[in-house]
Amino acid sequence: MDDLLREFIEETNESLDVVDVELVKFEQEPNNAQILDNIFRLVHTIKGTCGFLGLPRLESLAHAAETLMGKFRDGAPVTGESVSVILMSLDRIKEIVSELEANESEPIGSDEDLIDQLDRLSGIGKYAGQGTSVMDLAGEDDASEPVAEVAEEAPVAQKPVEEATHEVYQVLERELKAGEVSLDELERAFREAEGPEGFDVAQSAKEAAEAAIADAAAQKRMGKTPVTKAPAKAPVAKAKKEEPKAEKEPKSGGGAHQSIRVNVETLEHLMTMVSELVLTRNQLLEIVRRHEDSEFKVPLQRLSNVTVELQEGVMKTRMQPIGNAWQKLPRIVRDLANDLHKEIDLIMIGQDTELDRQVLELIKDPLTHMVRNSADHGLENGEERVAMGKPAKGSIILSAYHEGGHIIIDIKDDGRGIDTEKVKAKILKNELATEAELEKMSEQQINKFIFAAGFSTAEKITNVSGRGVGMDVVRNNIELIGGSVDLKSVPGKGSTFSIKIPLTLAIVSTLLVEASGDRFAIPQLSVVELVRVQNNSEHKIERIKDTPVLRLRNKLLPLIHLSNLLGIDKNEDHDISLDDNGFIVVMQVGAQNFGVVVDAVFHTEEIVVKPMATMLRHLSMFSGNTILGDGSVIMILDPNGVAQAFGSHVGTDVEAGKEEAEKQALPEEKNTVSLLIFRAGSPEPKAVPLSLVTRLEEFEIEKIEFSNGRDMVQYRGSLMPLVQVNDFVQRRTEGSQPMLVFSDAGRSMGLVVDEIVDIVDEQLNIEVSSEVPGVLGTAVIKGKATEIIDVGHYLPQAFEDWFHRKEMSEEDLLVKKLLFVDDSSFFRNMLGPVLKAAGYEVTVCSSGAEALAVLERDPSYEIVVSDIEMPEMNGFELCEAIRRQPATRDIPIIALSSLCTPAAIERGRQAGFNDYVAKFDRPGLIASLKEQRIELGVAA
């Protein structure tokens, strides 16, 4: 891009921002001539530069705006309407400038609408009758001579313009825009006009051409010649501005420049170098610390001081007043107030508070959004306010100040405050929390839900706010730069949002901690306090189930050990050293509070964050790394990552728990199994896999009825037969009787026991198999020999057709790998232990596809037992698939089905099953397994 153009764009953008603010001010103080002069000057400069660079669209618009402002200067009343139109024109100018920035040329389009309005308000052009004539206007300007001259030549120039616009249809295939001139026209004007001496040819040509146009425009405005439809009325004052500009240049060049423009990259580079210097200094200091009487001590101290000053100096170059981020707000609030028909006073305190420009850029949008929110949702309209005894004009107070190494920005309104009930309703509607959870929350906690994703309390969606993406985006943006946002609200009095952000992102103050022998840095911004825990002190770690928590000032703080969080436990023990003396770093991220337990806390250190290598960048737990004073590298924890992991960690714990429970139900080798321990008939414990038990019940003795030779209870609308584990079970005569309920396919059975003792997770290793009916064998559970009950023995006692039981056959002790496929979890759970007791290492699959996947991974299974009736892939299909694979072709497969018709058996044989066993014929299954193994053994 042309340097000149770039400079123009930068300058114009800056000027426009200022004009925005000044205009809003001016609207409130229409008599302040100084403000007006300032605005006038800025717009004038924009207009002048546009003309210089040949940007006719911008120029004509700026000119029309300037004209109107000129009227104000002459004492015309300043109305809201005129200010609005000027602001709109400025917006249009901004649009054009941004296009210009992107494409290096003015976009095609017409500003006729705005120019027309501006002209109407200044009473010129077609509205000339209502106000002063264009000549008067020109006369007001200091540099009016060229214009006046040109205007006198008007009759001459009139014709060419007319021609030009006609020719243009052929050349450009579009209408001429304001100020546009065809080449022919330019040439003619060049020939006709007498250019001022000393100007170069091109410039005079341009000027002349523009003068010609201006002239035509002037004619038109006077109502003499309605020339064409082409809007050629604007650039009257074209010629005049070159000269003032030319005069100004040398003057301003002579004045002492107080500031220079420096490329941001240069500053960034400087900053990086200073960061390196700080690190090196830290290292040197560390070395000298170890050598008591070093001659380096004094010069190093000096170096250190210089480094500090240099660091501060460089930081300063990056610092900008926060007012820069606020610049647009008065305008936004003014427009909002108009749109919403509210009266709003925006008070800004502490504009001079400085912060890093990188942070400033990032904070701009969230701030704007929050101010809009306050104006839209926070403040009531005039009548409401008066009815509540407040002044009709609402106010939004924006203040910024330093606190520690942070900057605090408060956005305070005196509106209605947050309607907690509405927030509650919304939370429930969006299912962000349950009613029970809400019960336990304070109002402030509930209010903070407005930062949750997808939350917006505005009932009506306005174009102002309430698009439902607002506050969570705000929060995210702020958290992204290591900041946090908080909220206080008093119903009827107003609400205050507090944003806390670090002054700079490059250097972070951190707390160094240790976990499992490794050191980590935690940004201090998110550290609230440190708590020392000791078993015998008032602060000690307590547990709910296995979740460690800390009582801290009557609140429960969830805890996690940093080692667990980072998966760096030294030993297998799950919550290492949580019982020991340690430190809890209480952290706050947004609204989330939690404690991170560490082994030791060292000191705080200012560190320079260095980005992590690409390979490590996916680790959300760290935000970067750095070199410490002692030369070692340390990882910097990302509080947001920790907070997230914290939430999900707790969550996955539950999930993992569930999964584990499911897994444990499968009696696989090395997997623990949840076992229900109970007593029945003898003091020795008995156990049954918990997953088999549908529920535990206690029935009152009176409810137990005797019918058809056995005990029954009415259970869930049907009769449930009761079976005693053995004859020694104490039948109670009063009170209630505990029992285990087993259900499958709509039928239930109650197994009567004496006492339910416990639920434990243990490896189920049946060490001694049993010949007693109803007992699979004995296993050591919690250090005690425990009989494992065979539920399968009791089911037929309740329902004879369930299946009937024969003696368990004894197996040799060789462990064989068996794959068991059944879609019914009941049978998986029931037959799993049976097969295991029969000496197999059982892998259980719930579908054919899963079984195939397992076999593909490990084709070393020695036998497969499969159900036939399964969804998606039935047993026949599975069998055929296994037979197709060379690796698994020879594995014996036993079909297990409740469907035992000769046809089905034949079909099974064809599919390649080695045997076909009825589902309830467990002895048959065991026998068949044995048979297959013998066959296999013979074959091998």
Binding site: A613, L616, V633
Partner: protein, 162 residues
């Protein structure tokens, strides 16, 4: 960028010699083209990076730069070294970042003629084959040429995928 290592170029560069820095990992001789080797250093005070890929030994400070250390034994699927006392590291630049390949020891620098270079045997363990750019037949032993870009490149892609 190292076309001279590509097998199809072998014939053209028969008389070309390339200097290799030789290293030992678990008794096997490897060679790295010398122009890729920035440093040879003793890795000291390596900071572990929790939750990272197992091959990443950690990060360390090498003259003011943070270097990501890769455990080459793990990268090649080998058992960790028993005595971790005197390990060495090769400093490599990859995509404008610094990496250190932790190895057992460093040998001499060899000038090797391209004519003694052969393609990677097709039956080589895939973890090795993935990072090998060829094999040199030396008098006494075979030297596997390490393709640094693949050693590190694969890790970057897997970390992004993770």
């Amino acid at each position: 960028m190292r076309n001279h290592l590509a097998p199809e170029q072998e014939d053209e560069s028969v008389n070309e010699t390339i200097q290799y820095v030789t290293i030992f990992i678990s008794g096997q001789l490897f060679g790295l083209p010398i122009n890729r080797v920035h440093d040879v250093f003793v890795p000291e005070s390596v900071t572990r990076v929790p939750l990272s890929q197992v091959e990443i030994a950690g990060v360390l400070n090498l003259r003011g730069r943070i270097v990501t250390a890769i455990d080459m034994r793990k990268r090649l699927g080998l058992e960790p070294l028993k005595q971790q006392g005197n390990m060495m590291a090769i400093g490599i630049e990859f995509k404008e970042e610094s990496y250190g390949l932790i190895i057992d020891s460093v040998g001499e620098v060899l000038d090797l003629n391209e004519s003694s270079r052969e393609a990677v045997p097709s039956n080589l363990d895939h973890r090795w084959a993935d990072v090998a750019a060829g094999v040199h037949r030396l008098e006494k032993e075979l030297m596997v040429i390490l393709d640094v870009d693949r050693v590190l490149g694969d890790m970057v892609t897997t970390s992004v995928a993770a």
